[in-house]
């Protein structure tokens, strides 16, 4: 191992690490919003909303993230809409991950017995109130571990930014390998990803085990 590349590229790696973190966090917030809206569409009593929700989930789950990022980057550029790489990365990741989040949230909501909704509605709560005060709090424990897993995937997937030279962590490696030892560069970058993903994995496992026991 030869980490001498850090003398020249230290700043690139720090910037890359921070970009990966911030893109992931921005995309996390956006994908949670998208995921919640789509999940509610998917279980809505209105057929048209259900159809939109299903179409969204099936389309974005079954097409590559790379294509979606290329669409927002190269596609929009071809009609003279130029978005920053950071924005393209966050948006692409959020739209893609949103479809997986939506499924996790929907599964959690549907695991709450139907009688809960009926009881809440017959007590005079509106659909939205019943969802917010009665269903979602109970669904929460079922939803958090799979959402955590999706967040881990999101952090890993943020590396697609490197393909459009998005100055993220993996891109920092692309720059450094031109002049330095390839293996050492990738080992360092791998360790930096693990610094983010391993604690998240441990957290998700812990919650899964704890909440599974309590039922």
């Amino acid at each position: 191992m030869d980490f001498s590349f850090l003398e020249v590229h230290k700043e690139d790696f720090i910037d890359g690490f921070l970009t990966t973190l911030s893109v992931s966090l921005v995309a996390l917030v956006l994908s949670l919003i998208i995921g919640t809206i789509i999940a509610i569409f998917r279980i809505s009593p209105l057929a048209i909303l259900r159809a939109i929700g299903t179409a969204y989930v099936e389309f974005f789950r079954n097409t590559p993230l790379v294509i979606q990022v290329f669409f927002f980057y190269f596609g929009l550029a071809s009609i003279h809409i130029n978005l920053s790489k950071f924005f393209v990365g966050s948006l692409g990741l959020a739209i893609y991950t949103g479809s997986f989040m939506a499924e996790a949230i929907r599964a959690g909501i549907q695991a709450v017995p139907k009688g809960q909704m009926e009881a809440a509605r017959s007590s005079g709560l509106s659909y939205v109130q019943a969802m917010w005060h009665v269903i979602l709090p109970q669904a929460f424990k079922l939803i958090i571990p799979p959402l955590g897993n999706q967040f881990i995937n999101l952090v890993k997937n943020s590396s697609v930014l490197a393909i459009i030279a998005g100055t993220d962590l993996l891109y920092a490696a692309d720059v450094a390998i031109a002049n330095y030892d390839v293996t050492s560069v990738y080992v360092l970058v791998a360790l930096l990803y693990l610094v983010i993903t391993i604690p998240l994995s441990i957290g998700v496992n812990y919650l899964e085990k704890r909440w599974a026991k309590k039922g």
């Binding site: 097409t63 790379v66 190269f74 596609g75 550029a77 490696a173 030892d181 390839v182 693990l194």
Partner: protein, 217 residues
């Protein structure tokens, strides 16, 4: 926007040969990671000292890394070590290294879902540990493993598009080459390619759902 290039037969043949590379890389990696994933998952499950720990370490490190990192590493590091392998093979190896770890986790949780009493019952009937695993545990666990494995393989198929980063001549790369010279066709081509991926993956998802329903019964 130039939608006409979507209907241009010369572009179709370029996209089709890209699709061929995508499918052959995906199916080779699927077959290999199915085999290695089962081996790794079983090794982790068995709790043989050292062997099980090595399997665990491999699984936990690899599944927490970005696939694109492993694809880059496979491509550039082999070159750096002076090992010449075709780009297609390097992508297949990288995807297998990554997906095996995820398949292993599916296998392990499938095995764990089988009631421990089954092992005790089989052992007391005179089955060896290996026989128990093969004849009693595996067949029951397999039912639980199939749906998540199919979605893992759908991910793999989508993720072959990451190899565009090292210019593997797959479907996404084929589209990129066309729209690099036909700027106006960028959006129509990306939509077309998205549709191609969608049709293949959605079909696989439907098959998975069908299997899930049949196996549940």
């Amino acid at each position: 926007m130039d939608f006409s290039s979507v209907f241009d037969p010369t572009h179709w043949s370029a996209l089709l040969s890209g699709l061929q590379v995508t499918l052959s890389v995906a199916f080779s990696a699927i077959a290999l990671s199915f085999v290695f994933g089962i081996i790794l998952g079983v090794l982790r499950y068995t709790r043989i000292p050292v062997v099980s720990h090595i399997a665990t370490l491999y699984i936990e490190i690899i599944r927490n890394l970005p696939l694109l990192l492993i694809i880059f590493f496979g491509y550039f590091a082999f070159k750096d070590w002076g090992i010449q392998i075709p780009i297609t093979l390097s992508v297949i190896i990288s995807m297998t290294v990554f997906t095996s770890a995820l398949v292993a986790e599916i296998v392990r949780s499938g095995l764990n879902s089988v009631d421990k009493g089954q092992i005790e019952a089989a052992r007391s009937q005179g089955f060896t540990y290996i026989q128990t695993l093969w004849y009693i545990i595996m067949p029951q666990a397999l039912k639980k493993m199939i749906p998540p494995m199919v979605s893992q393989f759908v991910s793999l198929l989508k993720d072959t598009s990451l190899a565009v980063a090292i210019s593997l001549p797959e479907l996404t790369h084929a589209a990129q080459i066309i729209y690099n010279s036909k700027y106006n066709a960028t959006i129509p081509l990306l939509i077309l390619v998205a549709m191609i991926y969608f049709v293949i993956n959605y079909t696989l998802s439907l098959i998975s759902r069908y299997l899930e329903r049949r196996l549940a019964g």
